[in-house]
Amino acid sequence: MTEHLPALQVAIGLTAAPVVMMLGRSGRLAWALTTLTCWATFAVALALFFEVSDGSVITYQMGGWAPPWGIEYVIDAANAWVLVIIGMISAVVMPFARRSVEREISASRIAMFYCAFLLANAGLIGITVTADAFNIFVFFEISALASYALIAMGRDRRALISSFQYLIMGTVGTTFLLIGIGFLYIMTGTLNLGDLAARLPEVADTRTIRAAFGFIAVGISLKLALFPLHLWLPNAYTYAPSMVTVFLSATATKVAIYVLLRFVYSVFGFQFSFVDLSMGWVLMPLALLGILVPSLVAVFQTNVKRLLAYSSVAQVGYMILGISFASTLGLMASVMHLFNHAITKAALFMAIGCLVYRLGGISLTHLAGAGQRMPWTMAAFVTAGLSLIGVPLTAGFVTKWHLIQAALEGGYWPIALLLLGTSLLAALYIWKVVEVAYFQTPDDEHAQVKEAPLSMLIPTWVLAGSTVVFGIYGNFTVNSARAAATALMGGAP
């Protein structure tokens, strides 16, 4: 059975989705089945991860059709790493989701909600495992359509309009991706990523291929919310149900970044992307602006969920900055940050989910005095917040350290200084929340608030704790990221 693991990675979730939908009214049962599915998917992801950890590559021919004609799934150190991130986040978020979703989604829709969640999850996994360009587009649409539905189910009526906004921007993004893939197909006659990489050099010096590269880069940049294409993100994250925000913030943009890396490094190749087209010089200013501007905007937010959403845009900037250095060390820092930011931001949004569960809202006025009323939740928030800032002994520090090293290695010392400065901005907006939560007295309405239920608190602490664990024992992430970076640099998947 182990040889079928790549197919099962996607198929388990896709099988469970219609079954969960059929369960109809029984929200509890739907939740239980979804949780089991997510755990099984995580187990498969781990099995794949350990299988490729020695540098080997697993391939799987869908339907027995040999590549490049058939769809091929290829798993190497790079996408196994992303699979582990998706699997871990969905496995941890599900126990958290039960109470949170029961509170935020009407009972008749819970089964549908979990069905959409499973589809979004399977779509993201599909994007990651497949080595077929068109298949990537299809899975992008599966996960995106399911995400639109998930976001639209938020309690606030503005959820609908922000979901629609995301739909328009996301569709523009995937359409650009499809146009780019179409151009590649016109020039090479193949859709298999490995085959594309082999055939592209012959025709690389044509306008069609350069246009394809532009369309693909811009399309994926929309999906990964690269500044200034991030406008869909703050609203979508703010008004989505808590559990959806946790999941999407930790996985959706990360998968898009992986796809960008796959196209830029493995398909077009380092020489074409960074030397012939100087992509680094396009990405670097955008990444720097993307770190600075949203960080500044975040400082002035009063809705904490929105504040963290802007911080997510800034964190995407860090990942893109690592790529723009066009070095192995920079790439490694980016790949590492995929994981470190996923656990950090998921922990933060989970703490937010706990606060929403008890306080009913998440603007700064709601939070007054939450530090005394909900000490464990706020402690988790602070721990993950420290990791977001990049304080030593947290996961965020491991990334920042490598990012600064990569900047110095490339001779960009002003950027290294700037990175230290932007950490202060992060400290500023996290402090804003901490100050209100710990140093203000609650109004009468919220004085009787209790600590969040354990079923939500434990998953929150699993992630908040892991930001510390992976901050102290950074070897695991560093080694995995090195292996992933080597696999990406090494050419075709």
Binding site: H4, A7, A11, L14, A17, V19, Y60, M62, G63, G64
Partner: protein
């Protein structure tokens, strides 16, 4: 509706033909233009014509919205079941040729099977969409 005799007679003649054509498109999809997606849409078109003429309630008596939801999920499951079946019979996921002793027969069987799943899902999803648009003002 009773006074529009032309519409009634024509639709009674046409609806069965549309449905049979949908089934033709469905089961000839593997070697002529067509397949599950087109067939599903054509099938739903017959239902929409029926609803326009005889009302939403009459149509929902034939296929209630609940049944449409269940069938939509069942179609996907049928598709995936063929994938797993191939896997358990020693092939890769969705490798139909292992389904029957004869490779070619297996391919045909598999493609017809998954296309049936696609057809059911597309027809019922399109129908659900139509129901939810058509039923808006009633609530």
């Amino acid at each position: 509706m009773n006074q529009y005799i032309v519409l009634r007679v024509v639709s009674k003649l046409m609806i069965p033909v549309i449905m049979i054509f949908a089934l033709y498109v469905q089961f000839h999809g593997e070697y002529s233009p067509g397949g599950g997606f087109q067939a599903g849409i054509v099938f739903t078109a017959a239902f929409i014509v029926y609803t326009l003429l005889f009302g939403l309630e009459a149509a929902q008596k034939a296929i209630p919205p609940k049944a449409a939801h269940i069938l939509a999920a069942a179609g996907v499951l049928l598709f995936i079941a063929f994938g797993y079946a191939a896997m358990f019979l020693g092939g890769n996921f969705l490798e139909y040729k292992v389904l029957l002793p004869n490779d070619q027969a297996g391919e045909t069987f598999g493609i017809i099977g998954i296309e049936l799943g696609v057809g059911i899902t597309v027809a019922t999803v399109a129908l659900s969409l139509f129901y939810s648009f058509a039923g808006r003002e009633r609530r």
